[in-house]
């Protein structure tokens, strides 16, 4: 292990301890030992079965849908609305599930747009969204855009020479996919699939609301129930461990599926674009994607317009929520980005590739880089609340905890966005940097920062967006006036103020869109 591995190792150890201590605190609070017998019940087995089924199907559908979209977006760089569409891909992820459900229902619900259109055309049908189909629809709505965005980022980081050669060979259509794009993406897919799987395993509000009844319940429901109504912290901790092990197993399985990343050195300038007309299938893919992703978002915008804006803007709580959301999200995003940088530096520069220490580090990297999503924020919050009971300055502690939890939850996304670019840059510049004696901060400023500016900015934007939309962590500590925008939306909805809630949701959406646009500009400043 070299000195450059230290920050990364510290980050992994720190986050690992953050999770472990929360679980230990809950188990200690439970006192009377672990209720292991509860695990064997048919109830838990049925929860596990449903969790796995729905998350597996969600992953498959999301990736199948995202593949053609990413390829069209990569092949065709210049059509009207492309930039806006690419930005919109990050938006669903930022929406609190409770908000997204209503956008989806406006389109796919029993009285939604599709049902109404079918009836207007004389068909006597009403779509039935409630059930497994609804859960999958919602998960694909959240994760297809995410997968497409990640795949696009991956393709964009490939050396230009690769695509130039393909252009010269007139590799187009299916053969371009089969010979060039698929091999490039294949190595990347298990990582994307793992991420989506984790998100779907942890899904809770969406699954219950659209699931149609208690037979559609995820394991997360059991954790929530154990911690709330049953007030059995030890059982909640145990369930979380089970979920972590489940998530870890799935991840190991997925890693086996993917081959080693292909080594392609080359210039890291974006590929020169060859003008090619959009084929019919490309137009179809784009049209469907826009309908599928944009229609529910548009429905939310329209719904938001009915809010009573005067009353809303006069509400002190709204401004407090905007301020708190901004501060928490910025801190969490910066923390997640810096932590990811440290983890990647350690991974690529800190170890001899075949050493035992490296294998150990890789295990930790995989866990913190994905499986953390299987730990419900509620569990982390409750554990730390117990652990820090009686400490001075509870407000500051709560704020720091929310930031930490948000940063942790953003880490898997940030790592996936930054790592392909980082690896490529490493292959190209590591020998040069070494021969020039560039190290530490110097190397960061002169080599890493300019090359990684864009992925850094995209990663930062993703982390911001995730934290702004996060409800779980912030809701826990509502105690300390930590009202964030999603908490405010929930409060409004809980007091009959549906229209105002839709208004705040619209503000949240605009806010997120602005953040993404801003982050895309920062990369120019940074570079």
């Amino acid at each position: 292990m070299r000195a450059s591995a230290l920050p990364g190792v510290a980050v992994i150890a720190g986050f690992g301890a953050f999770i472990a201590l929360a679980l230990v605190a809950l188990m200690v609070a439970g006192g009377s030992g672990l209720p292991l017998d509860r695990l064997a019940s048919p109830y838990t087995r049925s929860l596990l079965a449903f969790t796995l089924t729905q998350s597996f199907l969600s992953v498959v559908l999301s990736i199948l849908g995202a593949l053609p979209l990413a390829i069209v977006l990569h092949r065709h760089q210049r059509f009207f609305g492309r930039a806006a569409l690419v930005r919109l891909l990050a938006l669903p992820l930022a929406l609190p599930p409770l908000v997204a459900v209503f956008g989806l229902l406006d389109v796919w619900g029993r009285s939604g747009l599709v049902s109404a259109s079918l009836q207007a055309l004389g068909f006597d049908v009403r779509l039935d969204i409630f059930g497994l189909q609804g859960v999958l629809l919602a998960h694909v709505f959240f994760n297809l855009p995410l997968a497409a965005r990640l795949m696009l980022t991956h393709l964009e980081r490939q050396p230009a020479t690769t695509f130039r050669l393909a252009d010269q060979l007139a590799l187009e259509g299916w053969s371009r996919f089969a010979r060039l794009e698929w091999p490039l993406l294949r190595a990347h897919l298990p990582g994307v699939a793992g991420l989506i799987m984790m998100l779907c395993i942890g899904s809770f509000t969406l699954v219950l609301t659209l699931g149609g009844g208690p037979s559609s319940s995820t394991f997360e429901v059991a954790i929530y129930q154990a911690l709330r109504f049953d007030f059995d912290p030890a059982l909640a901790a145990l369930y979380t461990l089970v979920q972590l092990i489940l998530a870890g197993t799935v991840l190991i399985f997925l890693t086996r599926l993917g081959g080693a990343p292909e080594d392609r050195a080359g210039a890291l300038v974006s590929s020169e674009e060859r003008a090619r007309p959009l084929p019919i299938w490309g137009r179809l893919v784009l049209g469907l994607a826009i309908l599928f992703i944009v229609a529910p978002l548009a429905a939310l915008v329209v719904g938001g317009l009915f809010a009573e804006w005067g009353r809303l803007f006069g509400m002190a709580r709204l401004w407090a929520a905007i301020g708190t959301s901004l501060v928490i999200a910025t801190s969490a995003a910066l923390l997640a980005t810096l932590a990811s940088y440290a983890m990647l530096v350690a991974r690529l520069r800190g170890f001899r590739a075949s050493s035992q220490a490296f294998r150990f580090y890789e295990a930790g990297y995989g866990m913190v880089g994905s499986a953390v999503l299987a730990v419900p924020p509620l569990v982390l919050g409750a554990g730390w609340f117990l652990a820090m009971r009686g400490w001075p300055a509870p407000t500051l502690i709560a704020a720091c905890l929310v930031v930490l939890v948000n940063a942790l939850m953003a880490l898997p996304f940030v790592l996936r966005i930054m790592s392909p670019a980082f690896e490529a840059s490493e292959r190209r510049y590591s020998a040069l940097s070494a021969s020039l004696g560039l190290m530490g901060m110097n190397r960061f400023l002169r080599v890493d920062a300019p090359v990684l500016a864009k992925p850094f900015a995209v990663a930062l934007a993703f982390a911001l967006v995730l934290s702004v939309g996060d409800l779980g962590a912030a809701a826990l500590f509502g105690a300390y006036d930590l009202v964030t925008l999603p908490v405010l939306i929930l409060n409004l909805m809980g007091s009959y103020r549906t229209d105002d809630a839709a208004g705040v949701a619209l503000l949240l959406g605009l806010f997120v869109f602005a953040l993404i646009a801003l982050a895309e500009r920062t990369h120019k400043v940074l570079g």
Partner: protein, 338 residues
Amino acid sequence: MANRLTQFTALSALALAMVLPVTANADDRTLTIYTYDSFVADWGPGPVLTEAFEAECDCIIEWVAPGDGVAVLNRLRFEGDSTDADLVLGLDTNLTAEAVATGLIAPHQVDVSVLDLPIAWTDDSFVPFDFGYFAVVYDTQAISTPPTSLVDLIEGDADQPIVLQDPRTSTPGLGFMLWMKAVYGDEAGEKWAQLSERILTVTPGWSEAYGLFTSGEAPMVLSYTTSPAYHMVVEEDERYQAAAFEEGHYMQIEVAAAVEGSPEIDLARDFMAFLIAPEAQSVLPVTNWMLPVAPGSEALPEPFERLVTPADALLLDPETVAAERQGWIEEWLDAMSR
């Protein structure tokens, strides 16, 4: 670049310092109240009650709102003896037995003779401050003949579905399960299996269910008899109404209690007395959208007179609920999965 980053970090730290609440003036006594979040929202009873009580008490109220009523109880259980709470407000009668089990609840010592509840109030620890009846609320534009009883609901047309809440995660969900239990006893499981045909979906909380209802996804939802009052008073809209059920309606009584060992226990008791006094009783119905437990200082808005008044007020006692809840939830799960 490094400079920018430093500036940014410093700015974030500054902004963080700005959003954190300012500590209260040390000269005044502080009454710390734990409650659910919508109670202290801008539009909730919190701001009005704070102003009225602070005007007469020479004290400052500090509200702590960790979530819903269950979250308030859990916060108390987590903190144990070291809790900062002087008063907990907003538990319902289904949670009181578990609250007493923490050993943190003090006798209320408040004169409750003014109470005017449909049942006799004999609890020495908790003071009720408002109450409601669960009810099926329906959309008059979608349903012309609403169900008139639980039987009607259970056996009715599956093309007019209802949205319910999950008793594992939500208070109204638990309330409806107890309603079924209070009416059907051992046959509840069978009735649930029958009703499941008519259930569109079961949401994790009240907000999702009510949102589905008002967005037109379902013509019926489980809510309160007072829900129409909100629409009629605030939105001047008669569209959503509650259905009166022959078997009677299950009650939800919201209560407050002083915390044992609190240094401000007298203030806490004063606040509970203030809660059932006429001024607060007039504020609560139109901010918390529940019914008053005692006479108010002024008449309630007219629509309150037109709300469903149940023939029978149903309520299972807190100890039974605490003891049987797990078993009943299993029965519910089993029936709903048939």
